[in-house]
């Protein structure tokens, strides 16, 4: 992983409660770079998130409100957040259910700006 990508992901994983972050290829859902704790499957995170972003893009597109800029999946045991940074890359974070979403969202949007 390049230092640039490492720095981008570090800014996200520094947020308390974050289990990991990844840069994911939007088109094919593969990991470009990741910083995930052991036990979190990077390939699965990448594939599933890319698919969710695409499907939600169908919904927001049908509604005529544009492409998704931020996605938040809340589950009982954790959250998955995603920010499509460019047409090619999605910034993804997996975190505890009670993470400070506001702070994490800010860091992810900042990171996405850096990727772009």
């Amino acid at each position: 992983m390049t230092d640039r990508f490492r720095a981008i992901l570090d800014s996200i994983t520094r947020v308390r409660g974050v289990q990991g972050a990844a840069l994911v290829a939007r088109e094919d859902g593969v990991v470009v770079a990741d910083a995930l704790v052991e036990g979190v499957r990077g390939n699965a995170v990448a594939a599933l998130t890319a698919s969710l972003v695409k499907r939600l893009g169908d919904v927001t597109g049908t509604a005529g409100i544009g492409e998704p800029e931020f996605l938040h999946l809340q589950s009982r045991g954790g959250v998955v957040l995603a920010v499509p940074a460019t047409q090619e890359i999605i910034v993804v974070a997996v975190a505890d259910a009670d993470v400070n979403v506001g702070l994490l969202r800010l860091e992810m949007l900042r990171a996405a700006g850096t990727v772009a």
Binding site: A44, L52, T60, P68, S75
Partner: protein
Amino acid sequence: MADDIKEMTAELARDPDSLIFIRLGEALRVRGQVDAAGKVALSGLERHPGSAEAHDLYARILVDVGNLERARTVWEKALEIEPRHKGTHKGLGFLHYGRGELDLALDHLELALSADPMDQSVVQALRIVRAAAEEMPEAVAEDPFAAADMFAGLEGGSDGLLLVDGRGRVLAGGVRDTQGAAVADEMAAYLTGISQEAERTSRILELGEWEWMVAEAAGGNVHLTRPTDGTVLLLLRDASVPPGRLSLLAEKANDVARTWLEAQKS
């Protein structure tokens, strides 16, 4: 700050006893500024404790922040002051309906209608509650857009609320795109796939059951929840509704949808 809110704020500053606080509080509430709306309402209530209108405003703000029990108490106080206050009966009607207390809901909605027989939102709500109370759900379900009226008491109403089953079929509600075209069927087809994908994601990443999902876009925000197993409720609002507020609205819509679904089973 919108001009009308500025003007009303200035007027209230000039004359703190002015009843303009009711319109100001409501304007703030509608814009999603519930904290500010609550302060205006409480301050107004201190000066006008005998105003049923002020109590009604404060109760609606309490509903917006999810404090239903306190809202009920405040509305009851409003009724002590003005037993035929339409807004109060309407609010209590929706509140009881959301709790599945259909008889109480009917009582209040009928009183609201007697105060203003031309209020179409009350007429529609009564139709829904009567159908549920008489165990005639088909009366509601014939037309998906008619069933959307179950959301009539919610901020923003039924537009942009869509309830679908696990096979991508519309159960209730309606949604239109930004050009005004009805897109409920297309949306319903997508929602089932998204629900399955969210379930798969949560399961594979060992995050437990998924509860809700939000997608923010430049022109609006979409919130998805699961009122019951196998159903998905979509709430679509424009981008002026902040995410936290969207979640509160979605929670309320979710409760209404769950009540409605339970009524269909009985």
